[in-house]
Symmetry: D2
Subunit: 390 residues, 4 copies
């Protein structure tokens, strides 16, 4: 179990770009990063409104002179300090991810970026090369994949408790965009504009979570081809989608179906995953976050509870609250942030051996997410036709 003991050599000096008072996601970054003293929030360019951003930063405990108006000023300002930040989180609209990440890396700063990472795999490849050259880490905040029961699923698949994987059923749906966007604020509107959101809406916004999850649980399988049927039920969102179904075929013959939607009116259960093998299945949903359903055909279903000694070591090692006590989304983010910190620490120390086996959502995971989005769009644009993945 994680109990707050430091696993890195010293706290990381950290800044945020975006994630200001009116944003939805900033607090998730902060609560994920700050609870264990792994990161110290020392600077930020929190808001397009510089005064509001400064006021906000000060209330977060950041010195006023390190609350910058823009990310460019932040990079410049911090570069001039002996105690300047060394890692920057990017919690801004999609279209700025690439330029901010690139600028940070060029300035020698590690980056933690929101998903979807960038607009194209070409951008991803360029950034990957730059990060490699600079010996810097790029982490991607696939926030829920830090949950101990997600890693329990992965460990069970690895141990062949499920047999050969046959069926993958993934969904992440909600109804917050069921109505049209008239009167909606910019926080909604940028997500449905290709210029600011990129080539997708819900596929990138929530589908990439599911795709990364499938990679995490099924690292031994290779996606061969997919079909994406996407649709904007609110026509002004076209060509972007507010609903999509993706069918996928794996190299072992497994079949996946994946559903993302932001017009699934009233649904608050949001995420549910099911992996079916020849012997058994595992299923998890964030509406029962403390439980994993494990079903062996012909036997009573089993309800595994987080933090219990019968779980796999991989799951127990990352539990924070302990059995009986709800492990929340914030705890999951803390794990993601911790793993990225450990990567940064190893990069700083030049510990290549550690990095070789250390798992965290990095540039590769981000790139694969973008590659998957490109394939989805290619399929959808061809009339929901099958396309090869690679």
């Amino acid at each position: 179990m994680i109990n707050g003991e430091r696993t890195i050599s010293r706290p990381l000096r950290w800044a945020m770009v975006g994630g200001g008072r009116t944003g939805q996601v900033g607090y998730k970054h902060r609560t994920g990063a700050l609870r264990d003293g792994t990161y110290q929030l020392l600077a930020g360019a929190f808001d397009l409104d510089a005064a509001r951003g400064r006021d906000f930063g000060v209330r977060l405990g950041v010195a006023a002179d390190r609350c910058y108006a823009t990310y460019e000023e932040l990079i410049k300002g911090e570069a001039g300090r002996a105690d300047g930040v060394e890692v920057v989180s990017v919690a801004t609209p999609n279209f700025t991810h690439y330029e901010i990440t690139k600028a940070c890396l060029k300035a020698g700063l590690h980056v933690i970026c929101e998903k979807p990472l960038f607009f194209t795999t070409a951008e991803c490849d360029e950034i990957a090369a730059l990060a490699k050259e600079k010996n810097l880490v790029v982490g991607v905040t696939y926030g829920f994949t830090g949950h101990p029961l997600v890693h329990q699923m992965a460990a069970m698949v690895k141990k062949s408790l499920l047999g050969d994987i046959r069926i993958v059923d993934l969904a992440y749906t909600h109804g917050f965009n069921a109505g049209d966007d008239t009167g909606a604020g910019e926080a909604v509107r940028w997500r449905t504009n290709p210029k600011t959101a990129g080539p997708t809406f819900v596929l990138g916004d929530i589908g990439t979570h599911l795709y990364y999850l499938s990679e995490l649980v099924l690292p031994h399988l290779k996606l061969e081809k997919l079909l994406c049927d996407r649709k904007a039920f609110i026509p002004t969102r076209a060509p972007l989608e507010d609903h999509a179904t993706v069918l996928m075929h794996y190299d072992n013959g497994a079949r996946a179906r994946l559903w993302v939607s932001s017009v699934d009116a009233g649904n608050m259960g949001s995420q549910r995953y099911r992996f079916v093998g020849s012997k058994a299945s595992v299923a998890w949903s964030d509406s029962h976050p403390d439980q994993l359903v494990y079903e062996v055909q012909g036997e009573p279903g089993r309800i595994l509870h987080h933090g219990m000694p019968y779980l796999e070591p991989e799951s127990l090692a990352i539990d924070r609250m302990g059995a009986l006590h709800t492990e929340g989304l914030g705890d999951s983010w803390s794990n993601i942030y911790l793993w990225i910190a450990e990567a940064i620490d190893a990069a700083r120390r030049g510990d290549a051996a550690f990095l070789k086996t250390h798992h965290y959502p990095g540039i590769h995971a981000g790139t694969e997410g973008v590659r998957w989005l490109e394939a989805c769009v290619r399929s959808a644009d061809a009339g929901a036709a099958w396309v090869d993945f690679h």
Copy 2:
């Protein structure tokens, strides 16, 4: 509420073909038919093993001389009696449905047949013409669609409580065929042999339930095209499938996804339906059979309980147990059997006006199910390609 009062002029004289001691489905027919005195079980050809079938029939209360060895003998024997049966239920393997139904109709007997009705729509059309000519009823036992909360869903859609339908999500999966069929009895094996099962396995066996349900709830929508990705995870079942995903597009732009599987290891929740509209959603699953989830975007979710006065009249009228008391699958079958009896009674009486508006799963519903299976196979055979439905 249904309380056992007779709605037809007199009980129907009834026989069964199949549904013997070792079959899985016979009791569902009997408990559905007999509890209200609507049908009287007077004859049967219950079993391929004539002696066993006679012994079984006698223990069901059928006179020994009306327990026949074959359906041909049954038809002949009953035709010779003044009190001969007038309606026959067919609970036999798929490949016999067509010939038994045809023979019964020719002999002037109404028919109640298991799904999938026949192998081809050509057969369906021929039987429909014959039934029309003879003024006879053909009912199809889509057993779960008699549930009061299924009809609540339909009534809510009809009243536009959901707004425009956007998304349909249907699944009926279990894992009883997760293993291979080595050592399985004939009751399993006939289902995976094209000669006895017809062109599909799970699509016909359980998928037709879902498709009929979609027609029941969404009578105003027209299915335009579909894509079916089917697979036999147990290779000896090919070309039939033990898993299939079907994507569907409706004329109003709605999107449906439908999943059937008999290799969904360990899953006992089996059926779940969700209809999403522009304003709200309804969802039902037989693992919480007494509850309907009704979710208006932006409002608390609502849990509707069967038998409660706030439900639509269409639902309350067909409730049997009353609120607080579990309405089981048997109750649902009783409703289906009752509606078919009412159709037979009206046909006998020549009450065309009644038949015009009376709803029950009849030859049209059976035919549409087969048409849907044909389209699924056409799509699957083309490599899971989109095909027009009509």
Copy 3:
């Protein structure tokens, strides 16, 4: 599994007293009795309104001249027929149970009676003696205790899968009487009047179900003392109660708590049972009727599904729908009615050996329910004090 094959020598000739068109419970008796041809409904005194009762009976298929105005006329009329009924179900308000049962027994008729059986154990003892003298059966309709998963619980306790029983937690609550009774019909009002309801309201109406269930699952334990805290939240119901908590101590040291209420506003989950032993627990609720939760301390929880081969034979033998298919309350009533029929058949045949081991809710179960109510009232009247049970 039960598939409708007859287990008795011939169908029983059956009549109902009460259970008319406007009653709540009559259909449960009929659907329980009639589906398998075990009983034939041949006569009735269905309603205080004789004309309405006759019209109703005829629509149930009873001959008009066997639809009687009163139970006295029924007994007299049927006694005069060679094909007169041999068993009578009593589905009338509590205060009439004793006199109708007594009259029937005196006339040589078996009786199936609603709970709570009578007002006093003295009445019970008198009736028990009369039934014994006449070699007649008195069955009591504890309707839900025919469920296969209830018998699974009993079988697991018997096999010591739970270890020593420590804690029993039983509840049956709803909110249908949360409001006062102004404007309520007689069907509600008789239940809260001591003259018609007897010494209790919810304790007798629903608490006796729970108490019988505890006897069924824990036949090896002896209740030593109890404490009952009862209350009428609607004051006009006093001295009867619409809410009660009963604490119980067993001879092995086990502790039970039991809650009944008809003012539990909005609750539709109604029945839930939990038995905790030194090794494991079992729990069941009619809101998830197809599932039994079995929890061994320190292991994953198990979800047992009705009809599955891993269940105990006692449970599988009485399953009607089979796994995946919802077993409803009606199916449970059918089992109760079947077991009572088997007792009647054995009594008719003079098969004492069968009766010695045959389990059904009979006069003893009814008497113990009344004894428990007497103890509850004694405790409540003493200010919710502890009282010895025997």
Copy 4:
């Protein structure tokens, strides 16, 4: 929503006594305190094993020379520093709470203490007087009562959405002590020894949570009398209890039942609360932490989801993750720690007006918990008899 902005004038200098590497609860304190920069962990006496405690503290980021061997040394050492801590959390076995709290207060330090606060109300009163004299805060970590949906329940009761409160049903049970304590570590054993645990085991350990919750939701009701039936199913735990049922009567006529157990084999659902009024009920359980069930009699049940705009402002104000995203136990602890910090800050600033209306679990809440335990023991010792509460 809480987004990490500081609500106090500056971070508090904080130390922990107990909560070391092998303890169960220390991380809950730390994650609750540290994520928003409200507290800075600067010192500690984490462990009875001084070397292990120092090593642990250093890994938490505490300077080695501020990792003390005992709480006495901590108080002395910090008193000698200009930057000494100002608030101390006590996460040690029950029998040390009183002496550590007293010593801290005498040294001018605010205290945050685990429940149950002390052994007797006399001790509580003494400490309350001391804290008042010193103008210091004593907070008590009733950890789950920081959850936004708990405060939603309280707000709904306050707005009379439930009508008059009639029934309160509270339970907190698990099975971790179902086996005997042979071989159990000291972390288990001190809890069942009256010398170290005080006059109760589960009543104090988990029952006080429930009692505080009832006070939070029902501040307008006065508990008049109670009855406590307690038992040690593992005999060596006597006279302490591993199971207890408490019945309670309120001044408005409401009835409560409360169940605590650590021998409820296999139960992982642990906490569930239900408040029933004359119009409606609310219910919450930590096994579905994001949902509140709100049931108006005669209407569909409603599922309220945390973070949604339709909730009461009191609930929305303290939400951290936002709708769709699981609010965990750690988030709830953060709220409790924040409210205590705000009280300390106000005390420091001499802001009596703020303190007058500011709600947090303080010395009064702790005292009432101990008073309730005393009444429970009094009742149990009298043979589970009714006792007046005050």
